[in-house]
């Protein structure tokens, strides 16, 4: 696989990774606990990111519902983030799209739930503290 990628070159030189290493390094370094990264780790992370992009795209296409229309859409991706355990870490940045009206309803329901919870929570310990 690596050879296939290395062989597929654009400008005559052999390219192992097509994502820019400098950018990958900037992203890696934005993580505060990371002190330094050796070149091999950087190349591998860049390569892994390429594999990840391929995998996320093919997985979402295969499991999505755009296959008949030959299309990959956002909802295929958010569906993947929601359904697949491996891609679970993407759920926060690929939220399912819902209608604003539905969202407002959900918010309202949640608020009511919270209020109920608070009521029960406040109940007995509060009384004890006062007595």
């Amino acid at each position: 696989m690596a050879d296939a990628v290395a062989g597929r070159d654009r400008c005559g030189e052999q390219r192992l990774v097509s994502l820019p290493l400098s950018r990958i390094r900037v992203i890696m370094k934005s993580s505060p606990e990371v002190s330094s990264i050796n070149q091999e780790a950087l190349v591998l992370t860049a390569k892994a990111t390429e594999l990840f992009v391929q995998y996320l795209a093919t997985y979402s296409y295969r499991h999505g519902n755009g296959k008949e229309r030959k299309a990959l859409t956002y909802s295929d991706l958010s569906h993947t983030a929601e359904e697949s355990e491996t891609f679970q870490f993407l759920a926060d940045i690929l939220p399912k799209k819902i209608l604003a009206s539905k969202y407002l309803k959900m918010l309202k329901e949640k608020r009511e739930e919270d209020e109920e919870e608070n009521d029960t929570d406040d109940g007995s310990p509060g009384d004890e503290a006062e007595s």
Partner: protein, 147 residues
């Protein structure tokens, strides 16, 4: 260091090309899907870095290395990437070895033009690393002071 939020994005053209190569011919990828995958890729880099860093810390090392990244892939349930990554690592090592031998050969040949070009290139890379290392050291000192 990332100064602007855009610095954490990966180039759209490259991401799009990778997606297109992965999918069957003629599949339409919506603009929203592209930018979502691009964001996902940035998050993947951060997640992988954080996992790899945990392995480096366990090994009491300050510098992330190739085995940390490979361990991170397994931890993240991307075991399927490990074999292609090992192959890529070998290819990279061969390439580096080849470059080194080539530049040594060039030095021997005293081929001035290509030689200086090669050297400039490697020197630039070295400088980058050194500068970053200095930055890191400064940061570490600051952190230590804070603690």
């Amino acid at each position: 260091m990332a100064e602007r939020p855009e610095d954490l994005n990966l180039p759209n053209a490259v991401i799009t090309r990778i997606i297109k190569e992965a999918l069957p011919d003629g599949v339409n990828i919506s603009k929203e899907a592209r930018s979502a995958i691009s964001r996902a890729a940035s998050v993947f880099v951060l997640y992988a870095t954080s996992c790899a860093n945990n392995f480096a810390m366990k090994g009491k090392r300050k510098t992330l290395n190739a085995s940390d990244v490979l361990s991170a892939m397994e931890e993240m349930e991307f075991q399927r990437f490990v074999t292609p990554l090992k192959e890529a690592l070998e290819a990279y090592r061969r390439e580096q070895k080849g470059k080194k031998e080539a530049s040594e050969q060039k030095k021997k040949d005293k081929d001035k033009k290509t030689d200086s070009e090669e050297q400039d290139k490697s020197r630039e890379e070295d400088n980058d690393e050194d500068e970053e290392r200095l930055d890191e050291e400064e940061q570490n000192e600051e952190e230590e002071l804070d603690n």
